[in-house]
Point group: D2
Chain length 346, copies 4
Amino acid sequence: MIRVGILGAKGYTAGELMRLLAFHPEARVECLMARVEAPEPVEQYFPFLRHQVRLKIEPIDLKALAERCDVVFLALPHTAAQAYMKALLDSGLRVVDLSADFRFDSVALFENTYGVTHQAPELNAKIPYALPELFRSELNGPRALANPGCYTTASILALAPLMRHGDDLELDHIVISAMSGVTGAGRKPTDNTHYPECNESISAYGVGKHRHRPEIEEKLSKVAGWPVALTFTPHLVPMNRGILATCTIPMRRPITTAEAHGWYVEAYGDEPFIRLLAPGVTPTTAGTYMTNYVDIGMVADAHSETLIVISSIDNLTKGASGQAIQNMNIMFGLPETLGLIGASRA
Amino acid sequence: MIRVGILGAKGYTAGELMRLLAFHPEARVECLMARVEAPEPVEQYFPFLRHQVRLKIEPIDLKALAERCDVVFLALPHTAAQAYMKALLDSGLRVVDLSADFRFDSVALFENTYGVTHQAPELNAKIPYALPELFRSELNGPRALANPGCYTTASILALAPLMRHGDDLELDHIVISAMSGVTGAGRKPTDNTHYPECNESISAYGVGKHRHRPEIEEKLSKVAGWPVALTFTPHLVPMNRGILATCTIPMRRPITTAEAHGWYVEAYGDEPFIRLLAPGVTPTTAGTYMTNYVDIGMVADAHSETLIVISSIDNLTKGASGQAIQNMNIMFGLPETLGLIGASRA
Amino acid sequence: MIRVGILGAKGYTAGELMRLLAFHPEARVECLMARVEAPEPVEQYFPFLRHQVRLKIEPIDLKALAERCDVVFLALPHTAAQAYMKALLDSGLRVVDLSADFRFDSVALFENTYGVTHQAPELNAKIPYALPELFRSELNGPRALANPGCYTTASILALAPLMRHGDDLELDHIVISAMSGVTGAGRKPTDNTHYPECNESISAYGVGKHRHRPEIEEKLSKVAGWPVALTFTPHLVPMNRGILATCTIPMRRPITTAEAHGWYVEAYGDEPFIRLLAPGVTPTTAGTYMTNYVDIGMVADAHSETLIVISSIDNLTKGASGQAIQNMNIMFGLPETLGLIGASRA
Amino acid sequence: MIRVGILGAKGYTAGELMRLLAFHPEARVECLMARVEAPEPVEQYFPFLRHQVRLKIEPIDLKALAERCDVVFLALPHTAAQAYMKALLDSGLRVVDLSADFRFDSVALFENTYGVTHQAPELNAKIPYALPELFRSELNGPRALANPGCYTTASILALAPLMRHGDDLELDHIVISAMSGVTGAGRKPTDNTHYPECNESISAYGVGKHRHRPEIEEKLSKVAGWPVALTFTPHLVPMNRGILATCTIPMRRPITTAEAHGWYVEAYGDEPFIRLLAPGVTPTTAGTYMTNYVDIGMVADAHSETLIVISSIDNLTKGASGQAIQNMNIMFGLPETLGLIGASRA
């Protein structure tokens, strides 16, 4: 039984980790820590976890964490996680970091994107970007993994199979229009996430400057072998969970939906968490709600000569905590779907 | 491994059964049947179950059902289930019936409430009302169980511990104001459940004549030992899941919150699915969202001399399919929480 | 043309005042003031008012306010308004106060309810409670009016016609279960109004201690002529606007819906803003959305021997700003519906 | 006083017409007709209009309509309106048609898009496309006007000022990602608009084949002077009202936000219903909720070398009924904003 700790146990991704791990047959949450003054019951932050999780959220104590756990999920805010990485690894813990701090190959790109100086650049190269569907072979050795962002997971998985089709598509004209539920904005109340302000409204935000764009580009560039630049416009939608990424790519030559669909079958055929929809069918976020699946559908639009690929994930599950557990499974040599897809499936 | 069949596999309670059973360690869905012309993939009705459930929904065939299953969940509409009960039992199947058809001790009350003639009155007395927290001892012998309604589960569990306190409370003046998410109205589109009609609105419905009132009264009467009559007003709330039942009972003598809380501790102390909140704390439906828990909180209001008890459940889980699995566990001698509360809980 | 000022121009009730006054034929907003450091454009707080209201929100300056306006709407938080009343009246302004500060006949009850010492008790008796449907005759003389609360408007208007029916009903056993949209909680972001916390959830709050209960009781007591005490349980509903008040009153003798309906026809027959629904029909909050109407419906439940009366209002309109304009109309001798019901109605 | 009739009085756009016309100083609704068997009260379909509109919805009778009205709003479903146009015009009525039936210059394009044979092609050329901000000069002579679609209004107004900038932008690579509230799907309940199916979910629909795309293209082609083809992907969002159109256009040369903003100032400077946001600010649908405004904002993204222009409208107001009243005002020589922007604005 893997002993799990969560650092940053008050946020939504921590709650999702606890929800999922309750049904994981080989892992057990043993330690919850966060910036609290004194131990607090978990139900103060997550009423739905009452009785299910009887641990308290304790003040951060890395020594205690190392004694009681085998792996720690770093669920701290971006730029706050990096300060802990070295100490955690030195104490023998394995780490799945849900923050952005070690996601970038380029430390400079991270620093430029998040506006801070990286505090552990020497570790950065040793912590791979843990998007299993694309980079699985790099993930089962390292003691720390950088869990991808939510928009990035949806966008990269929607686009990666196209990166080898530069002769078929104008890959320098990719447009991503993405929409997210409000948990993606985190737990801290703000004017924009005050219920009456975001209910009955949709809006774009971070237009031309959202922090997930460089992450998407760096990873797609790695897949493509050349520097990808694209347009990424995220929108806030009045719902709790879910991301839809609508990706539009101009064709260089006529392509049918069936042909494009074939590219995805080839790329993702056996991936346990990717569900390709039938040619011409596009996904809803309800379809991946509270699951670790990525639903992908596509339409080749002969009229406008563009390929439209749409992906759906749950931002808290495949976009954060579910994928983190998937990565923990890989790290410990367990079946990748353990605790994420029901074993007794029909 | 218990082999499970679902009859009426297209509705919301069927989808919830499949979602929950995917993680049940001792049961496996083997057969899905409904009123379809030809086999249809389950994801046509439940996109989120794609790949998780690879069975098709087949036309109803009781013989095949009996061969392939040990137990069947009857998830048919009220008044449609009763026609199948005898055949199912005769074929050796066990049955958990999610409809109202066998919930009433009084066949006449059922007939009056649902406006139909009962088709299997001779079976009615053999099928107990399966609310385990109150009637557990009656449930592990019979081959068929009548799963309670959603409003009734929330209301009865909120009120049952008070039924012995007729000296303390005016039990002939109970008022229940209950609020439900829209899945409670079922899957069939109607004017009232058309999104723009129910979004941004709340309304009462079935005022003075909702069919769950007689069910609540009959069961509370059984607990009390005398005929209970009460006021029950349900409301439709713009959310998908969840029921809140706000129960108000006048005091006969001054009662404190702590005293009333003690009654519930005494009544429900070890119940695995009942979570009593601290005295003075009242529940939210978010707290029981997608769980099988019942959260109960209370406030004794000295000013108005009433006791206010509020319960929260998820209408599809404890209010339907979760409770049905709890009943299946009882029926098969399994731990009652199996598949419903994570085994690796912290 | 009445020159209008708004003090406390950043809150939701201020925005609603501006929305409504834009179509008022005899009033014009001339001055917006609030606790700001420097003038700010109104669209910073109310994007929908851009171009419609070109005034800036200025720092509070009572002298300038008095010079530029005939009447001021006090849209400040409870307990903050009272400090301004004397100065405003002394400067010759008329005042409609949307806060609770002058709503109570009993200063002691106000102080006890709001936990502060009243700063202008000598003015309190001169400022009538401005619920026109009940107290119209008291409203056209004074230079200041106390605008009722939202829950109180819905509850009092639902119950007032019953107060003379103590022989027919058990008026000491009134139970109000009320539900409100989230704008009722004001503009300041909090944990409870953070979108993911209140979306997909319903909860009671302030159980047994909500501040609108004493207001409801004091006014109904005035109508009744004896001290009314009742149970009031408010709930927060995931929608922006709207209040539904479900009131349950036990019968002393058998009463039909038609009979009770007749009491309301008699009480409210010609009231322009009260819409009695047909006997047995109950209202939705969608029906009063963004209107100044109060919809009232009722069902006499012979089984439980209770009368259920349900009222619906928009908490920002009839529950606050619409009623404030109705009161301004009365104060200035204008037709009461001016600017609130379209003149060219069919 | 203009006497107004509404044909197709049961749908959402009819309700919005009545809501708006109640405050119109020069028009009065005199006649409501629809496919009903017998006269029905308007509140049966629009509870919020009770008392505000006392007319009944009558069976269709064109002779009576012509006698009692000066202008009729055709609020019938697409393809159903065309059958009435000739008779209405022959009877001397003026007509604002909210359907798609006369929106296309090309009858063939209409027939291809809507899958029917046009029943009044000879009238088509006489009925201009009534988007006042672009085609105002064509609108004040004809006796019938074709009111634009909702997505089309948002999209065309966002893009029209760019059509002369083919040297600056790659106008053959326009991508529109649009999102609409559910009233846009009309009043008829369907599986997709059943509350639990569309709440907590976002999805694209009609990908590559939505009927508003040809309408957008034909009108932008007219503005541009060459055949425009573009990508248009609409999404259904869990809210009642509002459309956001996010338009992405690649640059041919570096363009700043300020430069692009200048193009819009030049194009729309004095338009009463277009509100250009400050450079870099993008709109929310809440900002245009229940108003006739179009909010437009833009960001020039130097990194991806694209211009992102976002527009927001209320689909029922500027996207349908508000614009129809704007067109009626033009048709009758009234100030264009009458009844749509408050006269007593500050």
